[in-house]
Amino acid sequence: METKAAAVLNAVPPYGHVITSEKWRNSSLIQSLKGGGVKILFESELGVVDFHLPNKSCILYVSECDIIAASSYKRKLVRYRNSSSSFQELVLVENTRLSEQYFSAVQKFVVFDLGLTLLPVSGQTEASQLITQIVNGGGRENPFRRRSSIQLLDPLVLALVQQVPGVGRVKALALLQHFSSIQQLCNAAPTELEPIVGQAAAQQIHNFFHRPTAAGT
């Protein structure tokens, strides 16, 4: 029994499907999800979670009614957080005319105290649109994903050397041809720099790196 429950808790629905608990069966949310082409699987042992989505996220739904009655939704949220599944845990909160006065307190609890992600919706129709988007958008490329392309460091080194007062692009390039890293350049003696940039600049560069900037520790 225990193992079955655990298996259900971590069940990832197939693409285009959501897993939800029986209590949602006749809801308008489920009706409009179906209308949006999302396939529904019902499961009686989901625990506190309302929906499992294919891209390893899950949803707890906090209704206007939950908020106004201030019933047990806080305890439910804590249990949700503590269920520590490997899913990204989202919380949909109904922010309506009646519940908006409590919204800020709910947000503090969900985001600041529990560290969960909150997405406000005006009701079940908006919720179903959002869920449909999460279900169908999973396969598309995320425009906000960090591009992990390897950044060429050479231009950054060059830019940094040009932060040294009196050193422009030409001098920076000349210096880096002799001292290929910032550390080598910093530790070069003025006499080593002199043949490349002249006496005055050599002294200035050396001083810039070695002059005290702070009381230090």
Partner: protein, 241 residues
């Protein structure tokens, strides 16, 4: 007076760095931060219009219609990408659009595009916060700063950088990859000279820059990176692009 000292204790707690570009669009927010939340607001010149509430957290503020607009997505993605390179945590305050006095507030039309933007942001680990206006946004910023402070991540470094040489050193630190303004400030106060930073161990870079181990390693490697002058003759590349 004991009461006053408690207020000061709290105010000492909340320090927020604000980009100068946030001022014109955020007078109300700034006033509220200072007066209602007793925050120390330090205006500085960041690489974008955002707020820094701790050593590791940056906050962007956008109106709901901003987020819903298709033209803005590319720019928003660039901003978020760049901030994620500089900070461990990136928050986005989504603020309700302001209605002009006398104008009836129009309900926000939620589109599929808006939903897909939200979904994508959440997937990348951006934290979303919801606000009804500048006053509430100020409260959220102060709350965030306080929360980070409790976790030992608050901004504690001296905010002033006096003297031309120190200013120049600060600029140099800012041109290191993945270094944000708080790291650069910490470095300019904690290292005796630029040379001391350059020759420091990873541990000392991490400590002196109040930064994560991986960031310190990245800087350590960068300072010793041996470059090929052939590759430098590429056109100028902006930081974190």
């Amino acid at each position: 007076v004991p009461q006053k000292s408690t207020v000061q204790d709290l105010s000492a707690a909340v320090r927020i760095l604000v980009d100068s570009r946030c001022i014109s669009s955020g007078v109300e927010l700034m006033t509220s931060l200072r007066q209602r939340h007793a925050a120390t607001v330090h205006i500085c010149s960041l690489d974008g219009s955002y707020f820094i509430v701790s050593n590791r957290t940056a906050v962007e503020r956008h109106s709901q219609s901003d987020l819903a607009s298709m033209q803005n997505r590319k720019r928003l993605a660039e901003r978020v990408n760049s901030l994620q390179g500089l900070f461990e945590r990136v928050c986005l305050i989504v603020e309700k659009d302001r209605t002009k006095p006398g104008e009836a507030s129009r309900p926000f039309q939620r589109t599929r595009y808006y939903d897909s933007t939200l979904t994508a942001l959440v997937r990348t680990g951006v934290r979303l916060l919801w606000s009804n206006g500048p006053e509430e946004s100020a409260g959220l910023l102060a709350d965030l700063a306080r929360l980070e402070q409790r976790k030992g991540q608050g901004i504690t470094v001296l905010l002033e950088v006096k003297g031309q040489h120190r200013q120049q050193a600060l600029q140099l630190y800012l041109s290191l990859p993945s270094v944000n303004y708080v790291h650069a400030l910490s470095m300019s106060h904690n290292f005796r000279s630029i040379a001391q930073l350059i020759n420091s161990s990873v541990e000392d870079v991490q400590k002196g820059g109040s930064m994560s181990r991986s960031r310190a390693e990245e800087i350590y490697r960068f300072l010793r990176y041996s470059c090929d002058s052939f590759l430098m003759n590429t056109p100028k590349v902006a930081k974190n692009s």
